[in-house]
Symmetry: C6
Subunit: 75 residues, 6 copies
Amino acid sequence: MALVPDNTLITATPEEGRALALKMARLVIKATQPDDAVREKLRPDYAGDADSLISIAHVVAVEFATIAAANNYWR
Amino acid sequence: MALVPDNTLITATPEEGRALALKMARLVIKATQPDDAVREKLRPDYAGDADSLISIAHVVAVEFATIAAANNYWR
Amino acid sequence: MALVPDNTLITATPEEGRALALKMARLVIKATQPDDAVREKLRPDYAGDADSLISIAHVVAVEFATIAAANNYWR
Amino acid sequence: MALVPDNTLITATPEEGRALALKMARLVIKATQPDDAVREKLRPDYAGDADSLISIAHVVAVEFATIAAANNYWR
Amino acid sequence: MALVPDNTLITATPEEGRALALKMARLVIKATQPDDAVREKLRPDYAGDADSLISIAHVVAVEFATIAAANNYWR
Amino acid sequence: MALVPDNTLITATPEEGRALALKMARLVIKATQPDDAVREKLRPDYAGDADSLISIAHVVAVEFATIAAANNYWR
């Protein structure tokens, strides 16, 4: 299973870098809980819980920091 | 849906960079829970809870670190 | 509303940088919960709770990391 | 017990770097709880809990940041 | 009240840098909860709780990262 | 009490750096709760709890980031 789509951190734009951050976070969760049905059942637990949503935003922020640095901030 | 407004991390000032950090965090939450009604219903859960507010501040701090670096700290 | 006092991350000293980190964290909380009365009512919740105080210290540490880098660590 | 497989942070690709991040996080947990049976019994606790899965994703993001920097982001 | 002892991040050794990280974290908590008696009453809450102790270690790690960078890692 | 073994962040290998990260995290906990008997009694609380183990892994990841940077990633 791929953990890094296209096996690169380099993206054309910040928007694509942000989407990559989201995907990379999800792929780690998929690697830890590979059962699609279980993950699907967990969705309401976090999508309807403010603290879980904030935690997800935190993880994406950390992933994005790495991707942004890799792309020299798309300056 | 846009995850990075204007598709850039570059802002004119720290104040604008800070506002961008807030927006980017919110857009990840919107991407995870796209239903406006559900998000609106969750608002009292976090806006009236000290620990949730602290967690939000944490996420914004992490996003801002990336944006500040991208802008060479507006030196 | 200002999110970054004086719209700069540059301070004369580490002490002022630390105070700025505290202020910037508080201003994000104020932006999320603008009602002064609600925030005031929440104060005992976090000021009397060890884990909340530790979480606040964590946020300040993250904000300060950015401010310290912006000031080249006041070397 | 090895904490860093092959005793290096350098990997050929982002994908391998990501796999290393996952392994390094697991090895710290193994060092803290060396009993295989106990760790195995804990698996359903985190693999079936949304917040635990998000926390794991957070740790991997932090480990990966270090590994990505070590590899100069595989640019 | 001082938030940064001696108003500098520069220390002679890693050991002193680590002690500074601990002090700076405590001073933020003191700034948030200035009542010595309340803080003293909270001590058993965190000193006897594994998760609180881990959270404290986390904050110190973040503060230390900044101090270590400020000192060019005492290389 | 020493907070940084040998008073240096420099290690010969990533493996030794990782071991140092674990030790430094433990020494902060020891500084906060110096009573060996209390810490020993807390062990089952975290060693048998998935979320505590994940939190420990998080702290070690943050400490290691600093140590790895100090050692220029052992490149």
